[in-house]
């Protein structure tokens, strides 16, 4: 087939909602876009373990400790699953991880905010996993087969994470005034960073248009952000918590909530590495990789020795 025929065939599949599979021909830019997006997603899962992992030893009771361990374990699993999806596109896992460490690859900026209190763990589940689900449910129908299938599994677990976070905050909101204040403080700090998770406004989003044409993305950043706000406001009301935005109100005409403009200066500063925990998060990942080097070398050396013994 000529290049033009390949392209026609590929575009046909996209139009007919036939999934693109690893061995199919695909435009190089489609491949690179997917590698960038999936590895960014994988990095987010792995870096996201840090703020929560930080609370495992301090979880307030055994049940919460067990649930948090299970949740963080799921996230490591998602990371592994997604790195494997990038490998189906020809990416090298170690190289992908090195790109994270040099700052070439990004991860979700939300994890550059600190988890200061136990209520933050609830807020992360409710808002951060809630926002992630908005993105990921849409990705279950993404055009690249392995990514779409990974998302189906991941969404099921994320939805459990979101519910446990909400349930944990419910406990605080029905608890003592101190506990409720702790929950409100967590919402105050995580609300805006959660809205930032959907990325820049559509007009500013460099990759959006092509990704939508390729059906990698199904909804724009602003559409997803609006759905998130619409879904989350009633949940906050049930908790009895106040969303920190004085312009938040229902717009009858639009059938959506109106809300204030995001502080985009803060958004870009955090993306550029100037958030409260960017340095700490990357340093922790780099340290894990460096300190684990001798372990990986040992595992490789051992595997080689055994393979030689077998063939001898």
């Amino acid at each position: 087939m000529t290049q033009a025929e390949h392209e026609r065939h590929f575009n046909d599949k996209i139009a007919k909602e036939i999934k693109i599979e690893p061995n199919d021909w695909m435009p190089d830019e489609y491949r690179q876009t997917l590698i960038r997006q999936i590895s960014q997603h994988a990095h987010s899962e792995v870096v996201g373990m840090l703020p929560e992992g930080n609370w495992i030893t301090r979880a307030p009771n055994l049940r919460r400790k067990a649930v948090l361990l299970a949740k963080v374990q799921d996230e490591a699993g998602h990371g592994l699953y997604l790195y494997s999806a990038t490998e189906t596109l020809g990416a090298d896992r170690e190289q992908t991880i090195d790109d994270l460490h040099t700052g070439k690859a990004k991860y979700s900026s939300i994890f550059n905010y600190p988890a200061l209190t136990w209520a933050d763990i609830g807020a992360i589940g409710w808002l951060v996993d809630g926002a992630a689900i908005m993105n990921q449910v849409a990705l279950c129908r993404t055009s690249y087969g392995p990514y779409a299938r990974a998302m189906v599994k991941i969404c099921k677990e994320e939805s459990f994470h979101q519910r446990q976070g909400y349930e944990s905050l419910m406990k605080l909101c029905n608890g003592t005034p101190q506990q409720k204040a702790m929950a409100q403080d967590a919402l105050n700090r995580f609300w805006w960073p959660a809205l930032m998770m959907f990325g820049p406004n559509d007009a500013e989003s460099t990759h959006s248009e092509q990704s939508i044409a390729w059906k990698i993305k199904r909804f724009t950043n602003d559409e997803l952000r609006q759905s998130f706000v619409d879904a989350t406001v009633p949940q906050a009301e049930i908790l009895g918590l106040t969303i920190p935005d004085e312009n938040l109100k229902w717009n009858e005409e639009r059938g959506h909530y109106d809300f204030s403009e995001i502080n985009w200066d803060e958004f870009w500063q955090v993306v550029k590495g100037n958030g409260p925990c960017n340095k700490e998060r990357l340093a922790a990942r780099i340290k894990a990789k460096e300190e684990g080097l001798w372990v990986r070398e040992a595992a490789n050396a051992f595997a080689k020795k055994r393979a030689m013994k077998k063939s001898a």
Binding site: G53, L62, K171, G292
Partner: protein, 251 residues
């Protein structure tokens, strides 16, 4: 009378699980490879799960209205009866794996024997925990072999971990009057039987790993009697932080 002894015995098991689970939880997000982050978190989760069942049973035996969280979170340091081995710091990955291996090689035959306990509830908890413990031992043994027979550096680190941790292993087989009472009634096995199985596993695995047992046989103990190492206070500071800072609240 036997109720007291059984309470003491079950608390040892649950404290061992809790404190080791707590230590493993510290690794989360910092493992040498993602697969190990998953494995270590999973083992921690199993251990915390075991401690919940065991504390529930202990609370029933005690019958003073305490629940599993009060037992796990609201005791003083000298009331914890875990062995010193499980409270030792994670150190490097070799230290963590050797600590885990020495513990798993003890826990598996202990649970296997406790499945025959005349105390039905203890037998049931052992039967439930034995399967996951078999995986834990498989995982830690494989790593001990891999590290011992891997590179020069991994061999050296694994040997250093053995040399350091060896002094804490004898305490695993601690017995006092409580044990004798429980052994007589068929509630728990003789520690000498467990030790024999432990030694067999340790010898086999270390031999395959090309690692040596230290010639120094100096032993430490005290954990089973509530005398801990300096590390224990810090573990409890983290563990108990929320319960102490926000008393009498539900989470």
């Amino acid at each position: 009378m036997q109720q007291d002894s059984l309470f003491e015995y079950v608390m040892r098991l649950s404290d061992d699980s809790l404190i080791l689970g707590q230590r493993l939880g510290e690794w989360c997000g910092h493992g040498p490879i993602l697969e190990e982050d998953i494995a270590i978190t999973n083992i921690a989760l199993d251990l915390i799960g075991q401690s919940i069942s065991l504390y529930d049973f202990a609370a029933e035996l005690e019958a003073k209205g305490r629940n599993h969280d009060q037992l796990a979170y609201l005791r003083y340091e000298n009331e914890y009866k875990n062995v010193l081995l499980v409270e030792q710091p994670n150190g490097d990955f070799a230290m963590t794996m050797l600590r885990q291996f020495f513990f798993d090689a003890f826990r598996l035959p202990l649970y296997e024997a406790l499945m025959q306990s005349r105390v039905a509830q203890l037998a049931a908890i052992a039967a439930k925990s034995v399967k996951e413990t078999r995986y834990h031992l498989k995982h830690s043994s494989e790593w001990v072999i891999r590290l011992g027979d891997g590179t020069e550096e991994s061999h050296m680190r694994a040997q250093a971990a053995i040399d350091h941790l060896w002094r804490y292993t004898n305490e695993l087989f601690y017995e006092n009057a409580h044990d004798q009472r429980l052994q007589e009634s068929g509630a728990v096995p003789l520690m000498s039987d467990i030790k024999e199985k432990w030694q067999k596993t340790v010898h086999e695995v270390l031999q395959e790993a090309t690692l040596q047992l230290p010639s120094n046989n100096w032993k430490f103990d005290g954990g089973r009697e509530g005398r801990h190492s300096e590390h224990m206070g810090y573990i409890l500071s983290d563990l108990q932080y929320m319960q102490r800072a926000y008393p009498n609240m539900e989470w």
